[in-house]
């Protein structure tokens, strides 16, 4: 079980440093966008290929739109009580 304990302790240590990890992530985000600005696009097959950071913006806005859409579909259309089809946990 020592491998399990060791991994567990490692993860605990990382979780304790969540704030540091958050800053690292933000720095990484800035770096990948910055590289995109500095390095010219290798090809322009699509109109947006030349725009630096396009994928970043697209992913961020896309994620927000998707979350909104999921909530609307869930609460507006498809959510039902968990035993809608009869009891679900008939062990």
């Amino acid at each position: 079980m020592s491998a399990v304990n060791l991994t567990s302790r490692l993860l605990e240590a990382l979780v304790r440093r969540a704030r540091l990890l958050r800053w690292l992530m933000l720095a990484l985000m800035a770096i990948v966008v910055l590289i995109d600005v500095l390095v010219p696009a290798a090809y322009t097959r699509f109109p947006w290929d030349g725009i630096p950071g396009f994928t970043a913006v697209y992913a961020f806005i896309g994620a927000l739109v998707l979350i909104g859409l999921y909530k609307a579909i869930g609460f507006g259309l498809v959510y039902r009580s968990p035993d809608y089809y009869g009891t679900s946990d008939d062990e």
């Binding site: 991994t7 567990s8 993860l11 990484l28 390095v39 697209y58 994620a63 909530k71 968990p82 089809y85």
Partner: protein, 561 residues
Amino acid sequence: MSEWLHPALWLGLGALPLALLRGRLRQLWQLALPLLVLLMVANLETGTQVTVPLGPLELMPLRVDSLSLAFAWIFALILFLGNVFALRVDDPAQHVAAMLYGAAGIGTVLAGDLITLYVFWEIMMIASVWLIWRSRRQAAYHAGMRYLIVHALGGMLLLVGIIAYWQASGSITFDAVSTGHIAFWLILAGVLVNAAAPPLHAWLPDAYPEATVTGIVFLSAFTTKAAVYVLARGFPGEEMLVWLGVFMILYGVTYAFLVNDIRRLLAYHVMSQVGYMVAAVGLGSALAIAGAAAHAATNIINKSVLLMGAGAVLKMTGTSKLTELGGLYRSMPITFLLYMVGGLSISAFPLLSGFVSKTMILEAAAVEGRSAIFLLMTLAGVGTFMSTTLKLPYYTFLGPDSGLRPAEAPLNMRMAMGLTALVSLLIGVMPLTFQALMPFAVEYNPYTITHLLKETQLLLFTGLAFFLLVGLLGGKNKLSLDVDWFYRVAGQRLMIGVRDQVRALDQQARQRFMRRIQRLGTYTIELRQSRYALRSWSTGSMMLWTAVVLALLLVFGLGRA
């Protein structure tokens, strides 16, 4: 020589002893058999064709080319890894079913004619349902029944399509099916049932989460991917498939985000990932078809890691509901980390297998200038990352602590997850070796600076949006209706309605008939009581009736010679 080395045949036969073997011997055979099959697949030579005459037909049970081989080796590999995961399951029926299912899957992709294909196709269905039923719950039994019925209908469409194809073309060889004939649509519909393409998909998220902890790994590997193979062989470049595939990807990720059961979440995600393959088959270029095969292979690997992780959680905690889980990283840290490898890989994180295959499909769309397809697939990548790699692990392993402190998963389960994750990593760091196993020998380098930048931007900024709203995104203790509602509720209501109508009609008719009989009865009694029939008859009327009878005899010619 090689005709005797059909891997499906030996795998099918080798499955049978598992019904009798016990203990260590069973475990040994369970691991040795898939390895032997893997060896057989590795020894298959491209170009091999074995034909067997059957009456007027010429069957081709074995046809080896780069496309069939790509699917055969990954099927054999996952059969081995899945069996490592199932090593401690003491249920012979499951082991036999899994091996027969794998044999049928390999048989399907190696079949050179439509009849052999159909036979293996149906064996897949019959063997796989046992992996659902053996979880021995009432809900699993019902879900398995629905699974059987849907697949029986799909199989019927396929069979009728094959017969129509044979009638029209006089051949049963399985190659690209020509457009414009009814056979084309019938075969396509039958295959799309197994590919879980909407609206024919509901069997998958309905049945898979009811399967056993170990069975779902095999289920996610064979049926849908064998269907992808049939599409790639029979329907390459079919434009309709591009849009169907994209719709599938988005439909799958949407439901994956909505459902509460982690295995159902991953089942919807199977459907979503198969959408990439269907769309790639629709694009039809050599790069796209190779991408479809590559994505099938990496997806089998990645999805297995994820389903093994989710299965381990279910086994150790007894629940697979997001709303009941949380904070498991303390007690199941290795499962958590290995799950994350699968999750990151399926989200196309560089150095893992998903990156290699997914960028291949995106590249195929980009080369052809399909801007809408490209953007929608990228958007679906956002959805994939959010549901399988952020939401599921966050609310299962991190997030609000559920207080559950299960033991870490058994060693064989961790080994299986670890080995499968290792395969994913190897494919990720050695894309050229991997591509050599894929059809058409396309030259494609996933590790360009553009691909790396785009994928890392996509993942990081999706993560940013997710963590900004993370408080709102936990599982909801709800059931999400899908189109299976039409046969589970609407269909049932329709049947009950029709039954009631028929019953009412039947009762009315019986009552009316009974009333007539009763009226006739009363009339007869009245007639007898009135003695009208027994009254004395006058001579005149007797004469008249005798004359009438004689006249009738004359008219109808009685007494004539």
